[in-house]
């Protein structure tokens, strides 16, 4: 996939960064493919830079229910970034069905089983994403255990993004649609690098 064609609305200086994140997300979906044991392909990808304040609007406003998988990214000394994968609840349920090989619509709520499945999605996607980033930046990066949350978009995101607002106002957003031949899901990756990661 030619990511350069997909990149709009970003500063020239950031193109490299956006491209790297796009490839990283591609790699993460490849990981999901291996987890599911069948081909999962990226259908569409849209990368943009968004003001942190506007992020809940991407998911239907701050009061809309979302499911988020959050990972912290550890580099050399401190945390070097954060990765959040956000799904609308029905989409996350569909993803659980896909992975557990159940008919679409089986999962209707988030119990331990579904939470743990989505946590595993976070683990796999995080590791594959970071492998790619490690190769590019030459830094050893590893993910924290995943945290799976379901609540109002504003609440989940301000809890995860509050610390980021201490040093920047914008973040990379990678909107993706991916799936197997018969089922597709859309998810949004929020990737927030610390300044130390960008230096790599």
């Amino acid at each position: 996939m030619d990511l350069k064609k997909e990149i709009k609305e970003i500063d020239f200086a950031d193109i490299n960064m956006a491209q790297i994140f796009g490839e990283g997300v591609n790699n993460a979906i490849e990981g999901l493919s291996q987890m599911a044991g069948r081909e999962v392909k990226v259908v569409r990808m849209d990368i943009k830079q968004v003001h942190v304040k506007d992020i809940p609007d991407l998911f239907g406003g701050p009061e809309a229910l979302i499911i988020a998988i959050y990972l912290e990214i550890f580099g050399k000394a401190n945390a070097n970034g954060h990765m959040i994968v956000v799904y609308k609840p029905e989409v996350a349920f569909g993803l659980v069905d896909l992975l557990l090989d159940q008919p679409n619509g089986t999962t209707k709520e988030l119990t331990d089983m579904e939470t743990s499945t989505l946590g595993e999605v976070g683990n796999i996607m995080g590791s594959f994403f970071l492998n790619y980033l490690s190769d590019i930046t030459g830094q050893r990066l590893k993910p924290s255990p995943p945290a799976v949350m379901m609540d109002m978009a504003g609440a989940v995101l301000d809890a995860t993004l509050a610390n980021i607002l201490a040093y920047c106002d914008e973040t990379f957003v990678v909107d993706t649609v991916f799936g197997t031949n018969d089922r597709q899901v859309s998810g949004t990756f929020l990737i927030i690098p610390d300044p130390s990661l960008e230096a790599g």
Partner: protein, 172 residues
């Protein structure tokens, strides 16, 4: 007898969304100030019942680190005094202010994460400390826990409501 709170008709309310790091003080009677989807953030509401002035601050972090501008409304240590001063500028009187706070949730208890999710706790502590410095005791508080909240203040009456993702609005 306590006045039972009843949400005013849609035609009699004008919603102001107080976004992250924003602060609104108004004496417009139809105004409904609202912080939507608070996680670790805190809504500090102040009300002067005689002058019918309402104010709300949507606080994101406890301290200003100075690394990202100087928006005083974003940080507990500067937002609380700012809110009080703005209330006084509008004609409010410090001793009359009724202050209510809500928010400061810890959205996940997952193990292995560092301090990211302690922001809520730190926000609550700092807001309470600054209020104490300002010699104001909060009249009501709904803080902590691990669910998000939406907070509204009806300026006409000073009522404050809190709603969670799965619940209905309750009066604070």
């Amino acid at each position: 007898m306590a006045v039972v709170f009843k949400e005013p008709a849609a035609s009699e309310r004008e919603l102001y969304v107080v976004g992250m790091g924003e602060l609104v003080v108004t004496d417009s009677p139809d105004a409904v100030l609202s912080c939507i989807g608070l996680g670790s953030c805190i809504a500090v509401c102040a009300y002067d019942s005689q002058e019918k002035i309402g104010g709300m601050a949507h606080i994101v972090l406890p301290h200003n680190t100075g690394l990202n501008g100087v928006n005083p409304a974003k940080f507990a240590d500067t937002a609380v005094p700012l809110l009080i001063n703005e209330m006084i500028k509008k004609g409010g009187i410090r001793s009359r202010l009724i202050v209510k706070i809500a928010g400061g949730a810890q959205m996940t208890l997952a193990p292995g994460l560092r301090d990211t999710f302690k922001t809520g706790e730190r926000n609550i502590a700092q807001v309470l400390l600054v209020l104490q410095r300002e010699r104001i005791k909060p009249a009501a508080a709904d803080t902590g826990g691990n669910i998000g909240r939406t907070v509204r203040m009806y300026v006409k009456t000073g009522h404050v409501t809190v709603k969670t993702a799965y619940g209905t609005a309750k009066e604070l």
